[in-house]
């Protein structure tokens, strides 16, 4: 007879499913959106969620490569290109959708959090054991993380400037 734990999904699988589901939803946004600017933004968010799956499996080097090379460089160039050749600057979705979206996201997030918190997770023998041993000391690692966060803020500022410039 199999135990109850073998039937229940672990929190990790649930988190993985949530990340993959959100990535698929954003990719559908690319297909549905008629404006190339929003499509490129949805595409960037999809790729960030794909990179987040790497982070979930503790593969931070690949996460950094995807987010900063692929999304940070190519993705932002695509966003800029789409903003340059933009033909429909008006908003497609009403602002009234913000409230139901926030409420739904809160309910889904809290249910996933409470599910992972209250149900014990089964122990699986296979884990990804990839790590860069002694690649950097912890202080240098934190410094690099700080630099990468500031780089993300700079990248987002440029995208924000394009959005504000497009409206005015």
């Amino acid at each position: 007879m199999r135990s109850r734990n073998s039937h229940s999904m672990s929190g990790d699988v649930l988190l993985l499913s949530a990340l993959a589901g959100v990535a698929i939803l954003f990719s559908l946004g690319v297909l549905v959106s008629k404006d190339n600017f929003y499509s490129s933004l949805f595409m960037s968010v999809t790729l960030i969620f794909v990179a987040a799956v790497y982070a979930l499996f503790n593969l931070q080097p690949v996460f950094v490569l995807i987010v900063f090379i692929f999304v940070g460089a190519i993705g932002v160039v695509t966003v800029a290109l789409a903003a340059t050749y933009r033909s429909e600057p008006e908003r497609q979705v009403s602002r009234f959708w913000i409230a139901p979206v926030v409420i739904t996201a809160f309910i889904i997030g809290f249910s996933i959090y409470s599910y992972a918190l209250f149900i014990p997770q089964p122990v699986s023998p296979s884990e990804i054991e990839f790590e860069l041993v002694n690649f950097l000391s912890i202080t240098e690692y934190l410094l690099i993380v700080l630099f990468l966060i500031s780089l993300v803020v700079l990248l987002l500022l440029s995208v924000l400037k394009i959005v504000i410039g497009g409206r005015s």
Binding site: A20, N36, V50, Y54, F57, F70, I74, G75, L81, S126
Partner: protein, 108 residues
């Protein structure tokens, strides 16, 4: 750290195929080359996702990391070339619509 079992692998491959399919549909329905570029980036995103289970094999982890680095840089270079091709197309044809492209391939 998340454990990678057959369920996780199934979720990863299903999501990868879904993103790839959306990328194909976007490419098929694209009327301009920028949308084609976005679709191509989505397809590369699906490929990156499909690489994750390769890291679960212990003696292949470093090789998988090498494959991931090569894939990321090769696809980035390919997309940069496509971006420059879009700019050149706009300068030559004064249009970025795919209908402006009437002939393709090398001349023999």
């Amino acid at each position: 750290m998340a454990t990678i079992d057959i369920l996780s692998v199934s979720v990863i491959y299903a999501a990868s195929f879904a993103i790839l399919l959306v990328g194909y549909l976007t490419a098929l329905s694209s009327k301009d080359v920028i949308r084609l570029l976005i679709a191509l980036e989505m397809m590369f995103g699906a490929v990156f996702m499909a690489l994750i289970p390769l890291f679960s094999i212990a003696h292949l982890a470093n090789a998988a990391f090498g494959i991931a680095i090569i894939t990321i840089f090769a696809s980035s270079g390919e997309l940069l070339i496509l971006i420059s091709a879009i700019v050149i197309l706009d300068r030559q044809k004064k249009s970025i619509y795919t209908s402006a492209i009437t002939i393709g391939g090398d001349r023999v």
